[in-house]
């Protein structure tokens, strides 16, 4: 953990992940190496089935790598913004799809991480109150998930992850199930929240627009097996406005050039699907 240099937050080296399936061995991640910088909004795009979710699950500690390693430089607890709590977690994940507990209120969902690590009641009260405020959920604190829209549920999931104050925030296609209006709204909110803290984020999406809107750098992954195809810098200054950004010609050009990398991979993924279907 100490080998990583000062401005590198996550170092992924020679990462492989193989699964054994009914159809034989399957390589999900095939030798990915990269550094994520401290305070960077890092986005991974790739065709479906390219292993990007597997990569994120390894970063989250939910899967073990078959080979290679992931090193994380922990924040200095004394310098870490917003908390003196040394029990701060290494990461917190915003999952794809519905992941908030249906049996807990919005408040209890958002407080989950803090409760699990035994934070004092006063801290939970302050932190959860703050994050529900930032995500526009204060009025819904006592509601249960079945009473919320899809966008609201994803806000709860985001509040839950941020409230846990992790070193690194991992987001797995958090907005992919939302309609476009909600997605744009939530992208704006995420950018606003992120600008306050500049937490290191690894964000997965299949949307090139979303990647360019949110990211500092974008990793394009190949179709299965997942490898690094291209690493692209996003030059836009922050704070960014989602809609203002889309108006700019550079935005369109960047989206176009990333599609250039991606198109071939999407076609390959399609061909693989057809192959597997036969």
């Amino acid at each position: 953990m100490s080998a990583v240099s000062a401005d590198t937050k996550i170092r992924i080296s020679g990462l492989h992940k193989h699964f054994t399936t009914r159809d034989g061995p399957f390589t999900a991640v095939d030798g990915v190496s990269l550094d994520v910088r401290r305070g960077e909004f890092f986005v991974i795009v790739g065709p479906s089935g390219c292993g990007k979710t597997t990569l994120l699950r390894i970063l989250a500690g939910l899967e073990a790598p078959s080979a290679g390693k992931v090193e994380l430089a922990r924040d200095d607890p004394a310098q870490a913004a917003g908390s003196a709590n040394s029990a701060r977690p290494a990461n917190a994940m915003v999952f794809q799809g519905e992941s908030i507990f249906p049996w807990m209120t919005v408040w209890d969902n958002a407080a989950y991480g803090l409760k699990m690590r035994g934070a004092p009641a006063a801290e939970i009260h302050d932190v959860v109150g703050t994050w529900l405020g930032k995500t526009g959920l204060t009025r819904f604190a006592d509601r249960y998930p079945y009473q919320l829209s899809g966008g609201m549920k994803q806000r709860v999931s985001i509040a839950r992850a941020f409230a846990n104050n992790p070193d690194v925030l991992l987001m797995d296609e958090p907005f992919s199930a939302l309609d476009e209006q909600n997605r744009t709204l939530l992208q704006e909110e995420l950018l606003r929240i992120w600008d306050e803290q500049k937490k290191t984020v690894v964000f997965i999406t299949h949307s090139v627009d979303e990647a360019v809107t949110l990211g500092d750098r974008i990793l394009v992954m190949t179709a299965h097996p997942g490898r690094t195809k291209a690493l692209i810098d996003v030059p836009f200054a922050r704070p960014r406005g989602v809609l203002e950004l889309r108006k700019r010609p550079e935005y369109g050009e960047l989206v176009y050039s990333i599609w250039g990398h991606l198109r071939e991979e999407v076609q390959r993924a399609k061909a693989q699907e057809a192959e597997a279907g036969r």
Partner: protein
Amino acid sequence: MNPKAIDRLLNLASPVLLLLLWEGCARLGWIDTRFFPAPSAIFAKLFVLTQSGELWKNLSASLVRLGWGILLGGVPALLLGIAMGMSRLLRAIVDPLIAATYPVPKSAILPLILLIFGLGEASKIVMVALGMFYPVVINTLAGVLQIEKIYLDVGRNFGAGRWQVFRTIALPGAMPSIMAGVKLGVGLALILIAIAEMIGADSGLGFMIWNSWQVLTVETMYVGLLVIALLGFVFMLGLNELERWILPWKPDR
């Protein structure tokens, strides 16, 4: 009138109508009142038995046995079901035992239970506990196994330990299924308490029914049946209320 109100009215009207018909037939001598005493005679008997304290004595004896049996059968079943749901090893060991013993009719092992536990309270409580145990353990296990994997991932990602996963995910996630099991179990418990009390008991509703056959007081027999039916009804109302209170996160069905 809206269709819901009509439904409710019919729900009330059909049993009342049946009772009236029964009463009429009994008074006109169309049915043999030695077997089918008029409802008015049954209610009169109910009043007499209430006054004499006999009904309370038998009812409370049954309720105490039911209470202990439901507790002693239900709580271990709940814990075992969740433990099995969380541990593949335990599941592999216990699953075949449950599968093999579950289909044996509980009433068929009453003689064995009497042999082991004697004629006292214990044998009745064990019968109730057996009735409660199986539906609760089976439903609890099924409830834990059908919890979406993503919730367990969330638990791990947010640092929940084994006990915390049990308390915050497995138990609440399985609760709808557990409640269904409890309802089934309580129904079975009522059936089994009546059977258990008919043999080698000197109190309880089952005893009251059996005894009234032996001494041929048919009205008392009907009072016993009526009270057991009412008991079942009240238990279900109570459990539905409990369910609403335990599962506020389930949309109203």
